[in-house]
Subunit: 555 residues, 3 copies
């Protein structure tokens, strides 16, 4: 794949007579790939089993005439009205038991077997139809999986699937009772069928159940993707499959989802869209997301949606300054993007995203965004062609774990502590010193890194502890910080030994109790915020671990 | 009708022995009209079909003996418990699908056919009973229509009626799909029966659907009023019908509702009732509401409820300063009120509005409010008698449109932009220069006005554009501002031409794109607030339109 | 009972092999009583009617061997999963009609007859089993009654019971209509079966209904307690019954609940658990709660749960400084606690309260908390043994009334006025002058007190007025303040006479109306906050009541 630049295109939003003009303008800019089709189920299957891909075929053909290939998305993020009216149980349910309805997008339960049957029928036909089309080079399943589903879904289907997931994880109910600590507050279960999704309670939640729920939700999204990807791959084995990820969105583990992809893609909107003018991401935040997406598969990635103008729904983000769109796109390339697709070709005149501005404005006449992006493509093309496939060799690694994030966010201890914010303070420290970093899952190879930053290692396993010990013994510099080693993989506190548990020898101190004398001395100040010195965190600056520097940003 | 002063009276809240005393005290003050009956359905019809108007007859008679006439309200804002228990589907439903229950007021769905049958039975009997009573001179339907229903009603009955409304508007489903842009996010409908009220979604709304929903809600209120008014007029053709409106409340178009009234009325509570001490309306806000109510029918109006003391439910507004009640009432007269009724005669000792203070306190003994209001009536009577029927001749008009308000509030672009707040900055500018203004709907005759201020002309039609052109060609000064001409009547962005679209020639500039270079220069500062310069707004100060001054308050 | 120190212990959370170690360590510290069993229903009755008290028996025996007795709690605050799955109607319902589900605690409706049948079965067996056990000296019913139920329960069972409660209170529906003022907004009821719990309305609530609802909720909790206590007392007449109360929690009247107890107990967590670091109770707030608990039965009380370390669920409170735990416990003793039990023995490694730290940390090894608390016990034991049974003789009384609190909180008038906050300003004034105070219900004997502070006497009855008059006539100094005497016991405003109504002669002024001239002069400043001078409040500083000093803190 030698595509340099692309665009997200919705030919079904415009008259056919316009398509050739669009395609010619795209080619002229330097576009050789478009993503299409991911939100138009009702168009391709207006009635059950009645497929109409003629218009999409024609759009592909029009683009192909200008030398433009395409990626097609499956439309499962927006089931049509006729499906919802026929099977309203597909609508997702929140923790209070209330459904979310048709009229926006993501009005679907991803576990629902009735919905899956609809998807199977469509995707099977879709994949068969495009399997042999030489201009269709790849697929995207659904859209931004995890988006809009942050607080969903607690419906009976998801509950049943959660029970099944727990059964597979724990085998028997006794193991679950032990690992969830259901002896507390009389929460013992006799049978998996008694277990609920964590719906709204009168008071309090079981943290181990919450952790499993979050992991289940992630797994469900991965299963939903894999299940569609399997249909696609079976029918069209020579097409690639990628997905438009969204940085550090937490609903689904991108490590897991990434394993199913031929390569990762990322959607980037630095201008904000619902935020006040000044509350927009800055360079280091953007860079951290790009480095993370590159780290998922440890290889170059695509930008599937790169901001092409002002964005927003009912409220808008800020106007990109002259040159700023090119700046953002260039940063993506610098961090490992091999292909940059802009979202979207032309601002839609209708629907929720009327103000999510495209390269072309509503009236379709080229303007500033068009000129700037065209110039960017022309100037960058030779360099990008050269760079494709190149990878940085970083000496700093950051251990980023969804499980630690889930566990900390379930029990942040301090209302202002968020796992991601905290982790990013390390990233920013490196970034400001121009030190490149990779993000690493727990099962990564740590050995290539001179420094391994491991923030908030709340949940500790023997396997991870062994890896960290081996890393330090081999001469690596390990940065640990507060709350490490307190809990096991089930979010249960260890019931013996000094803190930080299995890591105690690494930090050069064996504590027989929390150092409360130090705790009361004050707060830890970290990057302009303060945290309370609960547990063993603040003893760290007293220690002289062989290979450990805590709270030392000068790595 | 030569009534100068009136009061809102609830004889059913007090012992009969007191009525003559009240009536005599009213007469002595200068009161010649009272409004009664609008909240006491259970009293007049304690069981289905069993009507008891004896007490109300007697109260009317007692008042008549003192020369006081009355207006009677229909009681549909508070259906009694026996109706709700018998037909609980009458209770309204919110966007999440939850009912609002009996125990307050406005616990009704205005479209529900079962509820309408109850109302028909009552109002028919009510109108027949009072049709020949010479002391009953007019009717009010329900109370403050639109109040408490801001986020209601999404019940099956309203959904069905919305479908019917859409069918009548669009004829066929294809037209609706086109005008709602349902090609976006796969929202095509095959049939009107698939369409929902815009209940809670997982993510995002269709702005065209939202606009239609808001217009439907307004039309439903108007229909609810007309349907009752028709019953009243058929039985009692010589009584007037008015309604106690509430300034710029947005649920229902007062232009439309006003067409059904013999004259408009307004409820005015400047002291606030749920607000912190200092967050209360000031003179220009009050004036704008009065000018708007006068503009509805372009003739004098009544104040149906004028604040007579501290107001509030569970929390209270501020205490009127000495003389302030008279000041407020005088301002009403100055802006076109011909009759001023005070709310209420005596503070109720029970119920939600125990602290909504009347002219008399709970104990019924005249105090400061009584003395101040009596003095006001005596002093003002000769002047008001002279003024009745007089109308200002204003040279400035403000184009106020519910459709523009709905569209801007659905998509404010900037979180702090509200249509009403923005419009009022123009009004205040005029007010501080002592320039009188009328509010005009789109179908008004603009020609009498030297200046026409047309803020936020977001939705533009050929008809309106033609009117604005003709106005300018005839020498009028037209003030346009940001976001004009971007969308059509269906809330769809125009897909061709320069901005501001049909108005481009009026502003002396044909833009081929958004002037993004200027956009990035900063924010528009307007009356102490700042707005982002999205779209074409900020190019205006560069233009030299023949008859256009933008952002120029010196009209 | 000569127990000095105790602890809350959950042997079922730990391996049996550990129990003897725990018991020995407890004895060594000075512990002679433990509370157990109140959250482990599923453990004692894993299947309906199948009771397993063997482990609990063994734990009691292990403790007894070290000379430690125990109190057992009934487990009704956490019905097990098998009950909820079998009878899901037990789950409580909020005002919107949504259930709260299993997964935390307090997921129960206290009126539900099905739930009561489950409790009856368990408690009967439980009481029978332990009636003769000499080491079980008392019972606690449920846990912190009122906790987590602040906004619950509006289910059909509670609604039916509310109707029954109203029937018993009012006899006939006419009396209810009169006392609720249902003539307002057409709220008349024909029958008690028409009356709802005050579920969510479209707009507004009836304050008299709200007051009855709050009183009903309090009575329901008391009934729930009494109903269990009766079962316990019948089976085990020689055991005491106490309850772990929570200071000024408002859901249930502790005056009423206290009548059922042999002695009161209190749970004290001064370090906070969900609060920012500095927003924690200070000495006078803690003292007020202790004085209140002592006042309930006018005799010494227990601390059933005394903070033993950092507390919290997902977020944590502040770390107790060295010595601070002892300081807090000592304050309890100084205000009348005869026995102090610490919560809990050892931090739980699982469940919601993993971070609610015990005397021992997760690893079970004695640390700072253990050492500090042990030292406290050893040093304090001789003094406390001496002090047990001693009572202060206070000359200042504060009239604290749940009904006044409910009424003020239903209609606070000013958004920032809260009954408790206001009352505590008086307490703090006394506290800072080292003047001891008792809290008194309306039916207390006022005569022993030189000063009686009666804040916010909003609801006034003839009986209370007579008592206050008699108190003043006998030479007592009565402190009244704003809003006194405005309403009757049904939350209806009095409809005659000057304010403050029955109290008017006490304050040396007969007002014929609200002193509005004074009202507008400003706000009342009271302890750093300001309140609006609505109603008659601010006239007080003009009066020269014989025995009344208003706004005078120098009592």
């Amino acid at each position: 794949m030698s595509y340099l630049f692309g665009v997200d295109y919705y030919p079904e939003h415009w008259p056919k007579e316009r398509w050739a003009t669009d395609a010619a303008m795209m080619r002229e800019m330097g576009i050789s790939i478009v993503r299409m089709a991911e939100f138009s189920w009702a168009k391709w299957e207006p009635r059950e089993g009645e497929f109409h891909f003629e218009d999409l075929d024609e759009a592909i053909e029009v683009l192909a005439r200008e030398g433009i290939d395409c990626i097609l998305g499956t439309p499962s993020a927006a089931p049509p009205a006729w499906i919802i009216r026929q099977d309203p149980e597909i609508e997702p349910m929140d923790a209070r038991g209330l459904r979310r309805h048709f009229g926006g997008r993501h009005h679907d339960c991803q576990s629902n077997p009735v919905y899956r049957a609809h998807i199977r029928r469509f995707v099977t036909a879709f994949a068969a139809h495009y399997a042999k089309n030489p201009h269709v080079v790849g697929f995207q399943v659904d859209n931004e999986l995890g988006n809009s589903h942050a607080d969903l879904c607690y419906c009976p289907s998801c509950t049943a699937r959660f029970q099944q997931w727990l059964k597979e994880k724990y085998g028997g109910i006794d193991a679950l009772n032990r690992c969830w600590g259901t002896a507390f507050w009389s929460q013992q279960y006799d049978d998996f069928s008694q277990i609920d999704a964590p719906r709204q309670t009168a008071s309090g939640y079981n943290p181990s159940q919450m952790l499993d729920w979050k992991c289940f939700c992630s797994d469900l999204v991965c299963d939903f993707h894999k299940w569609q990807a399997d249909i696609l791959r079976a029918a069209a084995p020579d097409k690639f499959i990628t997905h438009n990820l969204m940085g550090f969105t937490e609903k689904v583990s991108y490590y897991d989802l990434g394993k199913q992809l031929d390569f990762a893609s990322h959607d980037q909107y630095p201008g904000g869209h619902f935020r006040p003018r000044l509350d927009v991401p800055i360079a280091d935040t953007l860079a951290s997301e790009l480095d993370f997406i590159r780290s998922l598969k440890n290889k170059p990635f695509w930008i599937m949606e790169q901001q092409s103008g002002i964005t927003g729904w009912d409220t808008l983000g800020r106007t990109p300054r002259p040159g700023q769109i090119a700046l953002w796109a260039t940063q993506c390339i610098a961090h490992g993007a091999d292909t940059v697709c802009f979202f979207r070709w032309r601002s839609c005149t209708f629907g929720t995203e009327q103000y999510w501005h495209g390269i072309l404005p509503h009236n379709g006449e080229p303007g500033r965004y068009y000129r700037e992006i065209k110039d960017f493509m022309h100037q960058t093309a030779p360099v990008l062609a050269e760079l494709q496939g190149a990878m940085p060799k970083n000496e700093a690694g950051i251990l980023f774990s969804y499980r630690q994030e889930y566990a900390i966010d379930i029990q942040p201890h301090h209302p202002q502590l968020r796992y991601l914010d905290h982790m990013k303070t390390y990233y920013s420290s490196l970034y400001r010193r121009n030190i490149g970093a990779d993000f690493l899952p727990e099962d990564a190879d740590f050995s290539p890194y001179r420094v391994l930053i491991a923030p908030l290692q709340f949940l500790m396993t023997k396997a991870l502890s062994d890896k960290l010990h081996a890393y330090v013994e081999a001469g690596g510099t390990l940065v640990l910080d507060m709350r490490a080693g307190i809990k096991d993989e089930h979010d249960l506190a260890f019931d013996e030994g000094p803190l930080p548990g299995m890591l105690a020898d690494l930090v050069g101190a064996r504590l027989t109790e929390y150092d409360c004398l130090r705790e009361m001395d004050g707060l830890v100040h970290w990057d302009g915020k303060e945290y309370p010195c609960h547990l063993w965190s603040d003893i760290m600056d007293l220690t002289t671990g062989e290979a450990v520097a805590v709270y030392d940003k000068a790595v």
